[in-house]
Subunit: 354 residues, 3 copies
């Protein structure tokens, strides 16, 4: 008989379980199929033509519709949760997230994380763990690479304090690094009517602000199905019994859900932004709960050419999502503080046909 | 910087944006997969053998299971919403809806609409737009053709009144026009035990009335997932924040959801009505909301032979759906008025093996 | 015109409609696809590597990822409902459930049931029907075989009492009968890191008890989508209008939903139990409703070798699920009575790599 009821179960890693340079191979490998795509579509309602139509994708140079970039992100991210953030107090940030290879239905994804930074908090109860996580397809090619940092509980407050190391992470991905996951496209063959908007790369300018107009109300069943689809096991999203005694009294929706909703909403105004090439950073400003209605607006921070590419250009976008607050006036901050309706502030690069 | 926050977003067309003879090509092309089929099955629970089993479909002469006809309808219809009915006050009717070609997983659908009629209302605030919408597969073949008319707001009440033109639409599709989307089937190989009912075409007679017995309660997550799956962007279905101040105080369920629920319920009594060949017309008599339980009954309006087809016959059905009201007594009207429980009254042709 | 509104609808069989030796072929044949797999994953969040990754499955000797065993069970079970248990007062038990052949996406399943026992209850109002149900793939091979017994209403209390016959069913499936649905695997190639746990067959011992820790809250939309996916038509799961006047005042969740949730939860502690080979029996101790949070724990009843197999060993598990009650202390019974939080007590065989 086991010595303890938990001898074979995983309680997740605590701060003192991480070591600089450690590489963690994550479970569970996952073959992504058209079934996953359909469920993702039903949950978010994406309308980007490249991801919706094999015929459209082929016309511009893909072999077929690639997976939605965020579906790839969520699946890779989900794999890291059980090893990295099961005992996280907070997800503090992302940086340097780059999509490196198109992923198509049938691909099998795995993930690893390298511990690249550690800093114990002065209270000795928690510490910050910095990891670089990578997703790979079944050929071993990297498809996604990103850094994130989380505040993790210590199992034992008296555990030794590790040498502090804070990694140097870029504030933004350089345009020269964009586009690895986007084949050279036939921009002239890109049918803007079918895609839903006449506006190409050259129609957007730094400083443009776009209200995405529509709102989507989230239900418990929806975010649970989505988050389980990614095999993300963070407990706070699924367990109402525990959360009824928790900080919010209810299930917290996975932050990635707000990102996917914002992306889907952004179609209205950015219909030809067919590929997310990189995520520079993001902040989950406030929690999202079932019953909330999500709105979003975007600002073009930079319109950049990609070296040696005449087919596509890159827009650096800031997309801000709110709850129960339409965005015709672009709510963001009042002084230092975020508008209380803001839930997400994300900075990323999208590609558009030229 | 853009002149306006909405310079690149679509607010949908208003009445004065439509012109007789105008052809509108709709976004977004869409490849339908077995993933869409599975999600549709999970949402409606269809049990028709031809759509459920590749082996069954092949036995009677299909290459594999075709898509549910209503899934095709909803996806084509969904494409038209952003261009035709985003500013609709009311969906007034459908007519002459014909399924023209079997659609299988892997097909990519696109859609166009021709403006075939216009009539401004006397209040100058709204007008009726008649369109003929068509769905096409990736080979360019039409798979679906239907007319509908919607009442649309004017952007500007002083805009010029167009010449009135009201199209002549058939009250019912002629039997000679039915069956284009149904291959010649081996009726003798159609296994009625596997299909769930011994009753073939010849067992139904004009005037037969059938209570479909069961009820299905609808949840917000379900209708939202379904309607997003069709990329239908009508705002009233998704935005509780806005609708809390709206006409009903809550999200209105897409009318097509009630049609699909009724079709699924109709299996009990019409299990061998394996194909919807045409929809003659339909009326959404009352709104459907989350938490309502849908029931349905059907009447055989006509049992018709199809010229030159000995394999299948056609039943013209009237199916009536109710909410929170079982239908053993076939509720419909008291005098001119519909029974208050009725939500849907639809007139369509189904095919059955002879 | 039909003589009755229900002349063509099925009301299900009553006790007096069953005869010993009768074989019932069930509707509806069903092709299972990767779409069904994705939806099942979204609903339950399974993380077993063999079912999640084609690449992982191929490494150990499968042609690709097999379907989750319980998805096969639910789909076969679902087919039997309309014929066997539509008028059931209670599902009394299962026995001798054996998985006989791996099932992969693309397979088409059908089902039959043989009536193997009958016993009228002394009140003459109900009787117990014992059936042996089998699922077959499109080649005619049996993929699943199980016995179950249900208490069914009589249509007419004066109907003749059949000769009583109670079948002799095994309390547990013999280890020699296990493994037909599991190919010989390359146990050395089974990557326990990717699979999420280092513990193989030899690490488990009779008497081990494992708390699976996590909890999952169930929503109405989730169990309805799942149960419709299986084409299970039991009315009590879908019809709030009727159930508001019923025994519980609300929709009862399909018992199989609790089994699938428990299986998904059991990953934490039993990550390498990649295949359910047999179900010896199970009891739905208490009903599960929307909003309840399910927890689970397991006990190893036996660790058994399978004759002539060096690749895998079998664990006989008892998994107990509770609602709104974590399981660190393994709640089960106080004397004869179950702990009031227990909802499921199931006894089954899983295979693990050696």
């Amino acid at each position: 008989m086991s010595a303890s009821p938990h001898a074979k179960t995983s309680q997740g890693r605590f701060f003192e379980d991480f070591r600089i340079g450690q590489t963690i191979r994550h479970a569970t490998p996952r073959t992504i199929t058209v079934g996953d795509v359909a469920l993702y579509n039903g949950l978010f309602g994406g309308r980007f033509a490249v991801q919706s139509s094999d015929a459209f994708a082929q016309t511009i140079g893909y072999s077929r519709s690639p997976l939605d970039d965020l579906l790839v992100f969520h699946i890779v991210f989900g794999k890291t949760v059980a090893d990295i953030s099961l005992n996280a107090v907070a997800n503090l940030g992302y940086a340097d997230c780059r999509f490196l290879k198109s992923v198509f239905p049938g691909a099998t994804l795995t993930a690893t994380s390298d511990v690249i930074g550690l800093r114990e908090n002065s209270n000795k109860k928690t510490g910050i763990v910095y990891v670089r996580s990578r997703g790979f397809d079944e050929t071993g090619d990297a498809v996604l690479d990103f850094a994130r940092w989380v505040m993790v509980r210590k199992r034992n407050e008296t555990a030794a304090t590790p040498t502090e190391r804070i990694p140097d992470l870029p504030k933004t991905v350089d345009p020269a690094q964009l586009g690895a996951a986007c084949p050279k496209i036939h921009a002239a063959a890109y049918d803007t009517t079918l895609a839903g908007s006449p506006h190409r790369f050259s129609d957007y300018n730094t400083g443009d602000r776009i209200d995405h107009i529509d709102g989507i109300t989230v239900e418990e069943a929806e975010h649970q199905i989505a988050t389980r689809l990614y095999q993300n096991t963070a407990r706070i999203h699924f367990n109402q019994f525990a959360e009824s005694e928790g900080r919010f009294g209810r299930r917290l929706i996975y932050g990635g859900h707000a990102i996917s909703l914002s992306r889907a909403l952004s179609f209205n105004g950015l219909a030809n932004a067919f590929h997310i090439a990189a995520i520079n950073g993001g902040r989950h400003v406030a929690p999202l709960f079932s019953g909330d209605t999500v709105f979003a607006w975007s600002e073009v921070l930079t319109a950049a050419e990609i070296p040696n590419r005449k087919d596509v250009g890159a827009l650096r976008l800031r997309t801000v999502a709110t709850k129960d607050r339409p965005c015709p006036d672009f709510p963001l901050k009042g002084g230092e503080e975020y508008d209380p309706a803001v839930i997400l502030d994300i900075d990323y690069w999208v590609l558009m046909p030229r």
